[in-house]
């Protein structure tokens, strides 16, 4: 049996999963909207039985009507540990804040959009006796990852067999970001900085990696892989390029080259494809010639005015976690109020600081030049307001005698 934990019916409907559609899978899927539905021991025993699968929205217990005495993070950890100890039981964690897919035996992580997009394919296969979480992660291409890994290995060996590595001109500073995997790009450019060891796909991981690797040395050119992370087919390099552009660092505006062993048409529908339409971001082949050509090509850094304009081409959509308790839209409202009131956002209680590292948030800030402080005139107005207000408050009940005087 499959148990789907999602507190938001509207979210399901927005992905095409109406009550009617779920009705066709009645015998296979039980949907849990409220904690109350499973409070009793019998229900829980039934759910945590071998061969079962839980599809669990990470914010399920954040909803006010689902408040649990345990912290949400502890509940998720316990679910994870239960699945680890019971290999025939599977768990899939999904949420709007996830931007990539990961499958480790019977435990998977994926974005909410992917879950609902592939749920039908997964269920149909399960009903036909093929229970494979890869259908949930990769839809009709369950073997895409296997194929991409093969392609990568082949590309690496061709690369080494084609030409010898070449050296950089002394004056050039080049960063070549590689993956943490053993199948990473071989060292084909002598004198370049090979850094970053990309592995984490979360926005927070990528943000931290940029902060720790792109703030000390100023580079003339930056090379990043198109494919890294657990799922090569997430093409995280496009998102990484957007992150570099939207993260304040000395390399924020430097030319970026994304090296790829797959063809352009395979990524054309990617959410971050438009980053390739921006100035100074280019997709290059997985070959020594392409690297050499990119290194000797003439390219200069963007100005900050150009950056703002170029980032508007990216046209990212509001993440589909809009109804989660930590929705970007709501956090954005808080952020904007704090900014306009000249208040440090880190002082605002309840604001999810991690949102500041999300690409969507960073993109909005970069595109709208909100990294700049508010004007001195606005600061003055805010100061006056703050000074005036306590005066009003101490008035208390209006003293009418003041008026008669």
């Amino acid at each position: 049996m499959i148990y789907l934990f999602d507190d938001k019916k509207n979210r399901q409907v927005s992905y095409g999963w109406t009550a009617e559609k779920f009705g066709t899978y009645n015998n296979y899927v039980t949907i849990i909207y409220k904690y109350d539905e499973i409070r009793d021991d019998v229900s829980r025993k039934k759910i945590f039985s071998p061969e079962n699968l839980i599809l669990f929205h990470e914010s399920f217990f954040d909803a006010d009507f689902n408040r649990h005495f345990k912290e949400t993070i502890d509940i998720r950890r316990e679910l994870y540990e239960f699945a680890q100890d019971n290999p025939t039981f599977s768990i899939v964690f999904f949420s709007g804040s996830k931007s990539s897919r990961m499958l480790k035996k019977n435990i998977a992580y994926l974005p909410v959009s992917i879950l609902y997009q592939n749920l039908e394919i997964f269920l149909d296969n399960s009903i036909n006796g093929v229970f494979d979480l890869k259908y949930l992660l990769y839809g009709n291409s369950p073997n895409i990852e296997k194929n991409l890994v093969e392609k990568l290995l082949h590309s690496n060996s061709s690369l080494l067999n084609s030409h010898s590595p070449f050296s950089l001109n002394d004056n050039l500073k080049v960063l070549i970001a590689t993956t943490a995997s053993s199948d990473r790009l071989p060292r084909i450019v002598i004198g370049a900085d090979y850094k970053m060891s990309l592995s984490g796909e979360r926005d927070l991981d990528i943000h931290n990696l940029i902060m720790s690797n792109l703030n000390d040395q100023e580079y003339d050119k930056i090379f990043i892989p198109l494919c890294f992370g657990y799922s090569l087919s997430d093409f995280n390099g496009l998102r990484l390029a957007a992150h570099i552009r939207c993260t304040s660092s000395i390399n924020q505006c430097k030319p970026i080259f994304i090296y790829s062993f797959i063809e352009l048409e395979e990524i054309i529908n990617h959410d971050y494809f438009n980053v390739l339409k921006t100035e100074n971001v280019k997709l290059i082949n997985y070959s020594i010639e392409a690297f050499n050509e990119a290194i000797i090509s003439k390219s200069t850094s963007l100005t900050f005015n150009q950056l703002s304009f170029e980032m508007s081409k990216l046209d990212l959509q509001v993440p589909k976690d809009y109804e989660d308790n930590h929705s970007v839209a709501n956090e954005w409202g808080v952020y904007q109020m704090a900014r306009n009131a000249n208040i440090d956002i880190s002082e605002v209680t309840g604001f999810d600081k991690d949102k500041l590292t999300s690409i969507y948030f960073k993109w909005l800030i970069t595109k709208n030049r909100l990294d700049l402080p508010i004007s001195s005139d606005q600061k003055k107005a805010q100061k006056s307001y703050a000074e005036l207000l306590p005066g009003i408050k101490v008035l208390g009940k209006i003293d009418l005698s003041k008026f008669t005087k």
Partner: protein, 378 residues
């Protein structure tokens, strides 16, 4: 000051940022995160309520604003004039930019609104700044207006309660029930007039003058009170023609024809005897005509006599009638009644000072009405 934020996102930054950016006071904002909790919290009085339009997932699946939790709460808060937060200013805080939704909330009693900035809306820096500054200005204004409203509303409510509990109006007699309803209606109308929203156009060009007009409405309640304290069956006939006598319900007279003489009751002397103006019957003097033949008798005379008839003693009468005298003088000089010569010759119709004074006179008058309704009627 007590502020309430009704928003399912209260704990996700909104409580904190409103305290820091708008209220400028930490831990000043209480919260309710769902409909049920809010319903409980609005049973006590607040100085300002920040209200979110939609509080639950269900609110996102309904098409009509009528079903939004925020709208249902607004209706509950503004349900009756005596609802505890009827006079509390409400600021709608919403992520919706649908003007027809905001309109519906305005129609039903919100005092201001703030649109939470959503990435989908094109807020340039200037708009974004104005959005916050507008909220701050609304808040600042509503703190003052809210205090004024609560003071007036409390007095109005006290008057309504006094009317409802007054033995003269606890009756099945239609005439007295009608009088009671008119008093209550005029109280509400006067409150509305005093606090109705004024646009800049109305204030600057059309010289809207709420305070003075509300005073006139409140003042007119004295007509109802005078009749309510009068024994109607012995004073008017079925065609509303007044008999020569005017008798109060406690047996005292305002006008009495006796032994060919007319007595007008305007109080008692220190010995406890009535100070009566008396006229010989069929006297053709103007004063005689005023009380005997003219169907309209000065309201102020009715009130003085009522005070005289119902005061416990001279001291009480002197005290209340001197309050009335001051108010009556103000009323006579009000530009929309008579206007004093000095006003007409020297002053503009509308001045900030006149507005302030008119507001205070409204309060003083409501207190006076409350006192009259508390007079001993046994």
């Amino acid at each position: 000051m007590r502020y309430l934020l009704i928003d399912d996102m209260s704990h996700h930054g909104w409580k904190s940022i409103l305290e820091m950016a708008v209220i400028k006071e930490s831990n000043s904002l209480e919260v309710a995160v769902n409909y049920e909790e809010a319903l409980e919290k609005i049973q006590s009085a607040w100085d300002i309520i920040f209200l979110d339009m939609r509080l639950s997932e269900k609110d996102f699946s309904v098409d009509n604003y009528n079903s939004y939790s925020g709208f249902r709460l607004l209706k509950e808060i503004r349900k009756n004039f005596d609802s505890i937060n009827f006079c509390t200013p409400i600021i709608l805080i919403t992520a919706s930019n649908k003007i027809w939704n905001i309109d519906a909330f305005q129609e039903n009693g919100i005092d201001g609104f703030y649109i939470k900035e959503h990435p989908d809306y094109k807020f340039d820096k200037e708009t974004s700044r104005n959005n916050l500054e507008n909220l701050q200005n609304v808040f600042k204004t509503l703190i003052i207006n809210g205090q004024k409203k609560r003071e007036v509303w409390t007095l109005c409510n006290s008057i309504i309660q006094n009317v409802n509990s007054n033995a003269y109006f606890k009756t099945q007699e239609k005439t007295y029930l009608n009088i009671k309803n008119r008093i209550i209606d005029k109280i509400k109308l006067g409150y509305y007039q005093l606090f109705q929203n004024q646009t800049d156009l109305e204030k600057d060009i059309l010289l809207s003058y709420n305070e003075s007009l509300s005073f006139i409405i409140f003042w007119s309640i004295l007509e109802e009170i005078s009749k309510g304290f009068t024994k109607i069956s012995e004073t008017w006939d079925s065609k509303f023609e007044r008999s020569l006598n005017w008798k109060f319900k406690n047996g005292e007279y305002f006008i009495l024809f006796e032994n060919n003489e007319m007595f007008i009751n305007f109080g008692k002397n220190d010995n406890g005897d009535y100070i009566k103006k008396s006229f010989v019957f069929s006297d053709e003097s103007n004063e005689y005509k005023k009380y005997s033949k003219n169907p309209i008798i000065n309201l102020s005379d009715q009130v003085y006599s009522l005070l005289a008839a119902y005061s416990k003693n001279n001291e009480e009468f002197r005290q209340i009638s001197s309050q009335f005298k001051i108010l009556n003088r103000y009323r006579n000089e009000t530009d929309f009644i008579h206007g004093s010569v000095s006003n007409i010759l020297t002053r503009n119709l509308l001045t900030p000072q006149a507005v302030k004074i008119a507001f205070i006179k409204n309060i003083e008058f409501l207190k006076f009405l409350d006192t009259v309704l508390n007079l001993n009627i046994k």
